[in-house]
Symmetry: C2
Subunit: 365 residues, 2 copies
DNA sequence: GATTGAAATGGCAGCGCTGTCATCGCGTCT
DNA sequence: AGACGCGATGACAGCGCTGCCATTTCAATC
């Protein structure tokens, strides 16, 4: 706002000249380093402000080997979860003085190119891999990178990572449905033909574990895959479930996106939710509240924040952080899409657990 | 995959040595420049691959003055629209060899800091400002930046930008409701106390224009502000509308987010949609389809793509692109949330336009 | 009063590239 | 046969910083 016009950006030398000191001193001052006298500091800072000086990271990283940047690899950008995770990450990285470089790798072509060129290499101090299903070769390639890795919402042996305990969360969700008296509980998982989404099968495992613990025999007819995003395969899956000899009274959807579409489909075919069918989602999607969807809420933003902390740690103290794992909690958020089972199906194994106050909630009006 | 272990990243000189040529030649080869003999080229490329060489942008930008990076300023990261826009931007930038630096500026504090430090300065070749309500001082500060600016989903005189014609879109949306026979059409706009969201009032203007063209007197009781995200103020707004002497039969929501919440509220209070109330949103949110919400769909991804093209243009040919504006179309997507007006209210001005085939659709079953 | 050391600052090389100019062959033209 | 031109390559400076070491100043110490 003051002083001469600044065309292409003042250099550190310009600031030095204006403040009447050496470039070294300006550098020290601006980095808040060691010993600079208060008066000098003030003079330098004023000069810098007057010139709207911003440091050239290119130049400084050339010397220090640090770029002040973190690369984030995501399989997508318009998925709710990723947006929320990034939203948590950005300010946290920012606070640590790190800029965020985003690589969205969605198609097979982009993917090949990314792993071929490794553009992040030497251009970032750490790479955050977010919900990205890496092939073994890709994994190896990233390892060669010589750059700290942090895995977000997924885990890798011996690598820093933040994620939730999917097994336990899915087990708890399933138990909630059991507590409501449901005995036939279906599970809908996303098909992922392109193989981009990281999945540990953990949620399905948790679901099965809870059923086993309740002494309910495994029935794979109740587990169905549906296309990951818009598409007809959900209708087909619902059709299958509704035409079973013993149809389910509850459906656990592996993601809220599936649950939302499920609600729509069921509304369309006049299956009242939760009177005839309870729906439980997984993610804690922002839309779950307006839709009144019960869900296992992941702290997406906090995952992002924790990822940022790990990134910072892994950059400044690689030994201590290289294998650090952060596990965040998932919370059941019961809402109107789940309710008591509509009554025993023929062949129901008595009512153990049915009146279990724990997870039971009022029926919606 | 081959050759000796690469610790911290090979340099161009390493590649040169390995290929038995000078660094200059490697540089030329890798940039696909002018004259390099095919044999040399092949040798260099192989050496580069063997060493997993990735160029240091820091070093090259120090010389060229180009960073190969574009900064994107967003007010948010978890809003659907921004995710979609970024999702369009990322691959397009990528294809142009540009990396994407994301600055999410959400709080007042972050905001002050961003405009104070101008971290993008000298660290990116262009700045894309996405749906960000700039204060005049901020605007001036960015102008001082000496960096090409591109405005996305908003427009500024004399600056490159991509956006939609909000006036026309809102006019068309309103006309659609008029064509369905609605005469009392309410408008719900987001309150933005923090002043982050860019808004030209254009949509409201279009709504008013359409009503005026239809000869309907302006009634400001039908225009209400609601808190931008979750909150009680929507209920209050609905209460106001439903308690008017002549309540509306249709509501035009300025954003799909508002429309979604509106659907929930109306369902909760037993106002059937669209039988008693038609709802039209604006955005083309990914959830509009599963929710069966009629909406004015913005091409969010295409906005992002166009923004990337503008960025590229503005970097390589500033004169030609500095003031280029790209206006993208908005399309009405009629769905189940809109239907014919439920019948004339007392005092309705005859039925002109009611049977107008144009926008009329079947009633949902 | 000479010596010491800490505080404050300056000087200078060099990080890894690219732009420019110089150099080297070698076929072509007069 | 000598001059010329062009394609292909190398040499070298320098981009804007930072790290290291040298230098200066001045108060504290013996």
């Amino acid at each position: 706002m003051v002083g001469e016009a600044v065309a292409k950006g003042a250099t550190l030398a310009d600031v030095a000249r204006r403040a009447g000191v050496s470039p070294s001193t300006v550098s020290r001052t601006l980095r808040g380093l060691s010993t600079v006298s208060p008066e000098t500091r003030a003079r330098v800072e004023e000069a810098a402000r007057e010139l709207s000086f911003a440091i050239s990271r290119s130049a400084s990283s050339l010397v220090t080997g640090r770029t002040g940047r973190v690369a984030v690899l995501v399989p997508n950008l318009d998925a709710w979860f990723l947006g929320a995770a990034l939203a948590g990450m950005a300010p946290a990285l920012n606070a640590a003085g790190l800029d965020m470089l985003v690589y969205s790798v969605t198609t097979a072509e982009q993917r090949a190119q990314f792993f071929d060129r490794l553009p992040a290499r030497r251009n970032a101090d750490a790479l955050l891999v977010v919900s990205f299903a890496l092939s073994p070769e890709e994994r190896a390639r990233l390892d060669d990178l010589g750059m700290p890795l942090v895995f977000v919402s997924q885990h890798e042996q011996g690598r820093a990572g933040v994620y939730v305990d999917d097994v336990e969360a899915a087990r708890r969700g399933t138990r909630y449905l059991l507590n409501l008296g449901h005995r036939r509980i279906a599970y809908l998982e996303p098909a992922d033909p392109s193989g981009f989404a990281w999945s540990s099968r953990a949620r399905l495992d948790g679901y099965r574990a809870a059923l086993a613990e309740a002494g309910i025999k495994r029935d794979d007819d109740l587990v169905r895959q549906v296309a990951d995003w818009q598409g007809p395969s959900l209708d087909a899956a619902v059709g299958r479930l509704l035409s079973l000899a013993e149809p389910p009274t509850a459906i656990f959807a592996e993601t809220d996106d599936i649950a939302f579409r499920l609600l729509t489909v069921l509304r369309g075919v006049n299956v009242p939710v939760p009177q005839r069918m309870s729906i439980l989602g997984f993610d804690g999607h922002a839309m779950a509240e307006p839709w009144d969807l019960s869900t296992m809420a992941q702290p997406a933003r906090r995952l992002g924040e924790a990822a940022a902390e790990l990134a910072h740690g892994v950059i400044h103290d690689p030994e201590a952080y290289r294998e650090r794992h952060v596990v965040l909690p998932v919370e059941l958020v019961p809402r109107g899409s789940t309710g008591p089972a509509p009554g025993p199906w023929p062949g129901d194994r008595a009512g153990e657990g049915a009146g279990n106050g724990d997870g039971v909630q009022e029926r919606r009006v």
